[in-house]
């Protein structure tokens, strides 16, 4: 549910956590990102930085400049002035990524896990398809690649995007690994709960994995111009589209990345309008699948 009034909770001497509700839906993330945007635009006194997540916003503040009580009052005023989430418009870049679904690299990671940790583990694409009532990995590919994804938050590892499907006909869910995997290839695409993530580097992980992209979303050497301001590609509010390609195409892009000639496929002129999005969703049959 969405709370009637947001909840303001302290985290030590310099953090406030604002919770908008206790479920995972886009609406709550729009509220969190809308407030983050408004705080930045209004330059609220004493706010050092904010970090939106699915249903909440963490605010880091400087107590020498504003007290917890004053910050709470200030943010409550700001939230009231924002009105309904329909009014929220956020700058939103759209990234297209060549993606190999059911690829050999994540298959190797899954097989390694099956051999060493849990022999009962079903092959992830088959497992996720079955749980979501899809006919098999082929339909999983169609459904998973059939939507734009909304970058709701970044975290866990620097630059790792937590994303949610924007098209309700493509919403699927998956439980996490138990116990977690000890390794996941860089660029792996996976799911846990209703969230899709891309692993910026090879790390342990708990998401079900079924695809891989050759394009870096994390670039410590800042070789590509998309990383001019940071070594992380994404910002909250960006969108991602996975474009299924073959292993040969993947390897071609991988070569371009290696020699520095790769050009990121990104659309940079759009704003995301919550009102437009909602009226589009209302026109859809949410029970349909691709």
């Amino acid at each position: 549910m969405t709370y009637d009034e947001p909840r303001y909770m302290p985290g030590g001497d310099r953090y406030m956590l604002i919770e908008f509700g206790n479920e995972m839906n886009l609406e709550l993330n729009f509220l969190a990102q809308g407030l983050a945007g408004a705080i930045a635009a209004q330059r609220v006194t004493g706010v050092v930085e904010t970090a939106p997540c699915f249903a909440s916003l963490l605010v880091h503040y400087e107590p020498e400049d504003i007290s917890f009580a004053d910050l709470k009052a200030e943010l409550a005023r700001l939230i009231a002035s924002l009105g309904p989430s329909d009014d929220i418009e956020l700058p939103s870049r759209l990234f297209y990524f060549p993606t190999v679904y059911c690829d050999p690299w994540t298959r190797a990671a899954i097989e390694d896990y099956t051999a060493k940790i849990n022999p009962e583990k079903e092959y992830d694409p088959a497992f996720v398809a079955r749980l979501n009532g899809l006919s098999g990995p082929e339909q999983l590919v169609r459904v998973h690649s059939g939507t734009e994804y909304w970058v709701a938050a970044l975290g866990f590892w620097p630059g790792l995007p937590f994303m949610m499907a924007l098209d309700p006909r493509c919403v699927i869910t998956a439980p996490k690994y138990n116990p977690p995997r000890t390794w996941t290839p860089q660029g792996t695409v996976g799911m846990g709960g209703a969230s899709t993530a891309i692993y910026p580097v090879a790390t342990p992980g708990g998401y079900q994995i079924f695809a891989r992209i050759p394009v870096p979303i994390w670039d410590p050497k800042q070789r590509f111009r998309e990383f001019k301001d940071s070594i992380c590609l994404f910002r909250p509010g960006d969108r991602v589209k996975f474009v299924p390609v073959s292993v040969a195409e993947f390897e071609d892009v991988e070569r371009q990345v290696a020699d520095g000639s790769y050009e990121y496929n990104v659309v940079g002129y759009q704003k995301f309008s919550v009102a437009h999005y909602k009226s589009w969703v209302a026109s859809l049959d949410r029970n349909k699948r691709f």
Binding site: P10, L58, H60, A153
Partner: protein
């Protein structure tokens, strides 16, 4: 320039307050864990309190100075020697070109700090020189010190023989037991009354599986309020699971039944509750404690935690120099 002859266990370049402003991309601030000792070291050698210096953990480095300078050591006592003469802590010391500083194992405390006049002048990354070695950024090529590194130092004129007043030094415990102040929240209401009382009365032992990302604690089982078990499924299956949310630095993060204090290099978000938070002015105690030592938590208000920060800032100033 300072040449690294031995790197120590994990010695890194840090500045204060570190890399601020990138929490929404998942970058922690890093910075010194005991910023009290760190700032005083800088003040002793005439630097700004936050200038970049070295943090040595458990076992300190061996360093050769390539030019005359002034240094100061604070924090843990690592039995430092300059050539063969012992170096006092909490005091600025003149060093001649070619002299070798040898730091050993921490005898009192855990993390030792070295400031050098002018400050370390590695290339800042995202506005900070602090090392976040897990991601390979900041400091010396994104890593802890290695043999053969040559650490650049900016020009600076320090004065030898300056000393920090006894009353201004952090009281590092030697009895293996620490009183650690905490603030309730953000998720204290997920723990039942018995669980809250248990947290505040129990002995919590610092686990060896602790590092600059998180301090794991061993102690009694946690019990939960009704909202921890009666919740929508997207929160996750464990009572301590919550829909992924932002983590305050210092949060006592409950991963299943294991509390982990998220410290300077910690994660920015995740799917576990944070019933309590260690306020920033108390981090120095974490930084100076060793695995196996005991924490007893004492609850204070947010306002008291903020007062502590102001008091600490006043102590980390020229007024504390004799």
């Amino acid at each position: 320039m300072i040449e690294v002859l031995k790197p120590g266990l994990e010695t890194s370049v840090q500045d204060f307050p570190g890399r601020i402003g990138y929490w929404n991309q998942g970058f922690p601030p890093s910075g010194p864990m005991d910023s009290w000792s760190f700032r005083l070291a800088n003040i002793l050698v005439g630097n700004a309190p936050g200038a970049a210096g070295l943090e040595a953990q458990y076992i300190g480095p061996t360093l050769r100075f390539q030019r005359d300078t002034v240094i100061a050591l604070t924090g843990a006592d690592m039995g430092a020697k300059l050539d063969h003469a012992p170096v006092p802590l909490w005091r600025s010391v003149a060093v001649r070109a070619g002299q070798v500083l040898t730091m050993g194992a921490a005898k009192i405390g855990t993390r030792g700090y070295l400031a050098v006049a002018g400050g370390i002048a590695t290339e800042p990354w995202l506005g900070s020189r602090s090392t976040f070695h897990q991601a390979g950024v900041g400091g010396m090529d994104g890593s802890a010190l290695k043999i053969g590194h040559v650490i650049p130092v900016a020009a600076g004129a320090g004065i030898a023989g300056r000393e920090v007043k006894h009353s201004a030094r952090p009281p590092i415990r030697t009895d293996r037991r620490w009183d650690v102040e905490v603030c309730a929240g953000p998720n204290d209401d997920w723990i039942d009354a018995a669980g809250q009382a248990r947290f505040l009365s129990a002995d919590w032992k610092l686990s060896a599986k602790s590092n600059r990302t998180g301090f794991r604690l061993d102690g009694p089982e946690w019990t939960f309020a009704e909202k921890a078990t009666n919740k929508p499924p997207e929160h996750g299956s464990l009572p301590s699971n919550i829909i992924d949310h932002g983590y305050p630095l210092g949060a006592i993060n409950l991963a299943g039944q294991t509390p982990i204090i998220l410290v300077n290099d910690g994660p920015s978000m995740g799917g576990f509750i944070n019933p309590y938070t260690v306020p920033s002015a108390v981090f120095w105690k974490l930084g100076q404690s060793k695995p196996g030592e005991i924490y007893n938590f004492r609850q204070i208000s947010v306002e008291d935690a903020q007062t502590m920060v102001r008091q600490r800032k006043a102590v980390c100033s020229e007024a504390s120099i004799l």
